[in-house]
C-alpha cells in the first residue's frame, strides 16, 4: 500500500482544514493585539452547534450557519470582557474553554439523551463536490471534500489581502502594533479588538462545523482534542507571518493523515494518536527557527546603514 497518492493529499487537507480556520481566527486577533487562546473551546462549541443545527433542521448548511452565528455570539464574552472591560483575556479564555467542554457534554445529555458521542441516523453532513470528479488532480483532491476545505484557503488569501490593501486592515495592524499611536490618530482600539475577536469566533464556528459535519458526521465529547491549541501554537510560532500559517496547519494535517495510514498498516494506536501532536510541535519549532533566522538576516544589512 503506497503512502503517497492524491487521496493522501485529500486526507491531509481534511485534517488541516479545521485548524486552518481556527489559526486564521487566532492570527487575525494577534494582528489586532489580542492574544486569543479561546480557540479550542470556541471550536468545540462550533462542532456541537453544527451537529445540533443540522439535526434539528435536517440541513447541514443550516447547521453550519448555526455554528458560525452561535460561536460568534459565544466569543462576545471574550471580546467585550477583554476589549471593553479590560479583563485578563487569558483568564476569560481559560474559562470559556472549560465552559465549552462542560456545556457541550451537558447539552449532549439534556438534548439528545446520550453521552460520549452523538451520531443519529440521518444526520446530514456537509456535501462533497462530486462535480469536480474527472478533473485531474483537483478532482482527486477536492471531489470528496466539503466546500469548507477550499473556502479555508480562499478566506486566508482574502484576509491577507484585506490586511494589506484596505484602510481597515492597515488600522487593524496598527491597533495591534502600537495601540497608543492608533488611538491618538482617532482609531477606536477597543472597538477594533472586540470586532476582530467576534469575527474570530465566527471562524472558529466554521472550524467546528468542518470538524463535526465535514471530516465526519457526528459529535463526540471533546472532539477538538487539542486542535485549537495546535492553532494557538501555530499562531505564536509563525510570529504573525501569514504565509507560514497554512504551512504549519498542513503540517499537522499531514501528520494526522499519516497517523491514520500507519494505523492501517498495523502501527499501535497510541503511537499514531500521539504522532500528529509530536510531529506538529517539531515542525513548528523548526519553522520558528527558520522564520527567525530569515528575519535576522533581512535586518542586519539595513541596521548597519543607520
Amino acid at each position: 500500500m503506497s503512502i503517497f497518492e492524491w487521496s493522501f493529499v485529500a486526507a491531509v487537507l481534511t485534517s488541516a482544514t479545521p485548524i486552518l480556520f481556527a489559526a486564521l481566527a487566532g492570527a487575525l486577533c494577534a494582528q489586532a493585539g489580542v492574544f486569543n487562546i479561546a480557540l479550542e473551546g470556541q471550536m468545540l462549541w462550533g462542532a456541537f452547534a453544527a451537529v445540533a443545527g443540522s439535526y434539528y433542521t435536517g440541513n447541514a448548511w443550516a447547521g453550519v450557519l448555526v455554528a458560525v452565528l452561535s460561536t460568534a455570539i459565544y466569543s462576545v464574552i471574550l471580546a467585550v470582557g477583554a476589549a471593553r472591560w479590560k479583563a485578563d483575556p487569558i483568564i476569560i479564555a481559560i474559562g470559556t474553554n472549560l465552559l465549552s467542554l462542560g456545556l457541550t457534554g451537558f447539552l449532549l445529555r439534556v438534548l439528545f439523551d446520550t453521552s460520549g458521542s452523538f451520531a443519529p441516523q440521518g444526520l446530514n453532513g456537509i456535501g462533497t463536490m462530486p462535480f469536480l470528479n474527472g478533473i485531474p488532480v483537483i478532482g482527486d483532491v477536492f471531489a470528496g471534500q466539503s466546500v469548507l476545505v477550499p473556502l479555508a484557503f480562499v478566506l486566508i488569501v482574502a484576509a491577507g489581502l484585506w490586511l494589506r490593501l484596505t484602510p481597515g486592515g492597515l488600522r487593524l495592524r496598527g491597533v495591534g502594533e502600537h495601540p497608543d499611536a492608533a488611538a491618538t490618530l482617532g482609531i477606536g482600539v477597543a472597538r477594533y479588538q472586540a470586532w476582530v475577536t467576534i469575527l474570530g469566533g465566527g471562524l472558529c464556528g466554521l472550524a467546528g462545523a468542518q470538524l463535526s459535519l465535514g471530516n465526519v458526521t457526528l459529535f463526540t465529547e471533546n472532539m477538538t482534542a487539542g486542535r485549537g491549541w495546535i492553532a494557538v501554537a501555530a499562531v505564536i510560532l509563525v510570529a504573525n507571518k501569514a504565509f507560514w500559517l497554512p504551512v504549519a496547519c498542513l503540517g499537522f494535517g499531514a501528520a494526522e493523515a499519516l497517523g491514520f495510514r500507519l494505523q492501517g498498516i498495523g502501527a499501535p494506536q497510541q503511537l499514531t494518536d500521539a504522532a500528529p501532536y509530536a510531529i506538529t510541535l517539531v515542525v513548528l519549532v523548526i519553522m520558528r527557527v527558520v522564520v527567525t533566522r530569515r528575519r535576522t538576516h533581512a535586518l542586519t544589512p539595513k541596521e548597519t546603514l543607520v
Partner: protein
C-alpha cells in the same frame, strides 16, 4: 482677526498635591517659532499635553484662531489644526513611511488604500517642507531623525497649522538638528506656527522668534529671541535662590575608590555615554550635573553593572570590575541609592524591616552564614536593627511592619539611604537622592551624605538640582549628550556656570569653562 494662532489663558492644572501649571498665559503668534523653555518639572509637558488635548486643565481657556475650544481628546486638537511630535515617537515600525503618514486618514480607491496617492502625498509634503524621506521605506529601519520627519509628515498630512515639537532634538545628531531647524524655519515662513519645547538654550537662540520660560509651573520670563541673551534665559530658567548648605570644605583626600576610564554605553543603537573618564577618592563628593537624560543614569548603571559598557574600564578600589556581576561589585565596595526609588530602590509591598534587611540578610546579625540554622534569617535581629535605624534616621512610620510603598517620599527615601549607608562601602553612588522629597528630609539626607564623606568614604552624587550640587559637591562634572563637557572645582562652581554647561551652551558656543 488677531494674529494669534493660539492663546492659552490662565491655564492651571494640579496632579494630587503638585501644581504642574499655575495660571499660565501663552500667546503663539501665527507663523512664528515659539520656544517654551524650562527645567524638568517646570510644567512644560503638562502645558503641551493640555494644548494637545491629552490632559484637561482644571481651569483656563484655550483659544485657537480666535475661537474658545475645549479638547476632550487629541482628536479634537487635531481637528482644530494642531499637530504634535512627541518626544517618544508614536510610529508603527513594521509599516512603511507612507502607511504611517496616512494611517487613519487614508486615500482610497475602490475600497483599497490608494498607495500611489499616499506616496504622492508624502512626496509633495516632503518637498514643500524640505523633509527628505522615502515613502516606501520601512519605519523600523529608519534612523531617529528620519522617524522624526515621519512624525512631522503625519501632522502635516492632517493639515496641522500649529505644530508642537516636544524636545525634538533629544534623539538627533548635530547634522540632523541642523536640517530639522531648516524644516522649522521653512514651515514658519509658510504660515505654520511652531512650538518648540526644549531646555536647550542654544537651540532657542538659533531657531525661535519668541521665548516663554516656565519655572515651577509659572511663567518666569517672556522674551523676543533677538533681544535676549543666553545669560538672561539661564537666569529665568534656574533663577531660584540658591541656599548654600555649608559643605565644611574639602577634608583629606584618601585613596581612589572609583576609576572610570573611557567608558561608553550604547543602548538601542544610541550612544548614551561617550568616552567618560572620572575618579572618586575617599573623602570627596564628586557631583555630576546635567539635564535628565544626558547619560548620567546610563553611567550609573554601567558602574553598578546593570548595563554593559561598549568600551572602557571600571575599577572599584583598584580592582577591574568591568563585566563583573552586580553582586561582585557590591562586595568590592559599592553602595547605590538609585534614582527610581520605587522601582529599583525598594520593594514597595514589603515592610520597612524587610527593605532594611535586603542585602544585609546574609551577614550577622540577621543572617547565619554558618553553624546551626545556617541559611535562615533571624527575624528578631532584623526587627531590632530596623527599629534602631527607624529612630536614628527619624523615619516617620506607624511601625516597622508598614509597607515602604505607603510611606511618604521622604521617609521611603530614608529607608533606602539607611540601608545603603549601612553597607559601609568605600564608594556610595547617590542618584537624585532628594528627588520628590520635602524640605526637612532634604536637610537630613544632605547631612547624612556629608557625614558619610567625613568618615573617609567617597560619594558620586548625580543630581539635576544645581543647588544640591553646590551644597554638597567638592567637584562638579557636567554631562551633556553623554559626555563630560565641563568640570568645576568647588571654588569655581556657580549656578550660572553649571546651568549654562548643562544646557549645552558651553559646548555649543565653544566657550571654555573649565579653565
Amino acid at each position: 482677526m488677531s494674529t494669534a494662532a493660539v492663546e492659552l489663558r490662565a491655564i492651571s492644572r494640579r496632579f494630587d498635591a503638585v501644581v504642574a501649571n499655575d495660571g499660565i498665559d501663552l500667546v503663539l503668534a501665527r507663523g512664528t517659532v515659539h520656544a517654551v523653555m524650562g527645567e524638568n518639572g517646570a510644567g512644560k509637558s503638562t502645558l503641551m499635553s493640555i494644548l494637545f488635548g491629552l490632559v484637561r486643565p482644571d481651569s483656563g481657556e484655550i483659544i485657537v484662531d480666535g475661537e474658545a475650544r475645549s479638547f476632550q481628546s487629541p482628536l479634537d486638537a487635531i481637528a482644530a489644526g494642531l499637530g504634535m511630535v512627541h518626544q517618544h515617537f508614536r510610529l508603527f515600525d513594521s509599516m512603511t513611511v507612507a502607511e504611517n503618514v496616512v494611517f487613519g486618514a487614508e486615500p482610497t480607491r475602490g475600497g483599497r488604500i490608494d498607495r500611489a496617492a499616499a506616496d504622492a502625498r508624502v512626496r509633495s509634503l516632503a518637498e514643500r517642507y524640505g523633509l527628505d524621506t522615502d515613502p516606501q521605506a520601512r519605519v523600523g529601519d529608519l534612523s531617529a531623525g528620519a522617524r522624526q520627519r515621519v512624525e512631522i509628515l503625519k501632522a502635516l498630512h492632517r493639515d496641522a497649522r500649529i505644530l508642537i515639537l516636544d524636545e525634538p532634538t533629544a534623539v538627533l545628531t548635530p547634522s540632523e538638528v541642523t536640517s530639522l531647524f531648516t524644516v522649522i524655519r521653512r514651515a514658519a515662513e509658510g504660515g505654520t506656527t511652531v512650538v518648540l519645547v526644549t531646555h536647550k538654550i542654544q537651540e532657542v537662540l538659533d531657531v525661535s522668534t519668541e521665548v516663554t520660560v516656565l519655572r515651577d509651573g509659572r511663567v518666569s520670563g517672556r522674551f523676543v529671541t533677538a533681544d535676549t541673551t543666553s545669560a538672561e534665559l539661564v537666569r529665568a530658567m534656574t533663577g531660584r535662590e540658591v541656599e548654600v548648605v555649608a559643605n565644611p570644605g574639602t577634608g583629606t583626600l584618601g585613596e581612589t575608590v572609583l576609576e572610570v576610564e573611557g567608558v561608553s554605553v550604547v543602548d538601542a543603537r544610541v550612544e548614551r555615554v561617550s568616552n567618560v573618564s572620572l575618579a572618586v577618592r575617599r573623602g570627596e563628593i564628586v557631583g555630576i550635573a546635567g539635564v535628565s537624560g544626558n547619560g548620567q543614569h546610563d553611567l550609573v548603571a554601567a558602574i553598578l553593572g546593570t548595563t554593559p559598557v561598549s568600551a572602557g574600564r571600571i575599577l572599584l578600589g583598584g580592582d577591574d570590575v568591568t563585566g563583573a556581576p552586580v553582586a561582585a561589585r557590591r562586595s568590592a565596595g559599592l553602595a547605590v541609592i538609585p534614582e527610581d526609588r520605587r522601582g529599583e530602590g525598594s520593594a514597595v509591598t514589603m515592610s520597612i524591616t524587610e527593605n532594611l534587611s535586603l542585602g544585609h540578610h546574609r551577614q550577622p546579625p540577621i543572617g547565619r552564614p554558618k553553624g546551626f540554622g545556617r541559611g535562615w534569617m533571624s527575624l528578631p535581629a532584623a526587627r531590632t536593627r530596623a527599629s534602631e535605624q527607624i529612630s536614628s534616621y527619624d523615619i516617620r512610620t506607624s511601625g516597622e511592619k508598614q509597607p515602604v510603598g505607603s510611606l511618604s517620599g521622604g521617609n521611603a527615601q530614608k529607608v533606602v539611604i539607611a540601608r545603603e549607608l549601612a553597607f559601609d562601602a568605600p564608594l556610595l553612588i547617590a542618584e537624585q537622592p532628594t528627588q520628590g522629597v520635602d524640605v526637612g528630609a532634604i536637610e537630613a539626607i544632605h547631612g547624612r551624605l556629608l557625614d558619610y564623606r567625613a568618615s573617609g568614604r567617597g560619594i558620586l552624587l548625580v543630581s539635576h538640582e544645581i543647588s544640591e550640587l553646590l551644597a554638597l559637591a567638592d567637584r562638579v562634572l557636567v554631562m551633556f549628550a553623554g559626555e563630560i563637557v565641563a568640570e568645576f572645582d568647588r571654588s569655581q562652581a556657580s549656578a550660572e556656570r553649571i546651568g549654562a554647561a548643562m544646557a549645552g551652551a558651553a559646548a555649543a558656543a565653544g566657550e571654555e569653562w573649565t579653565a
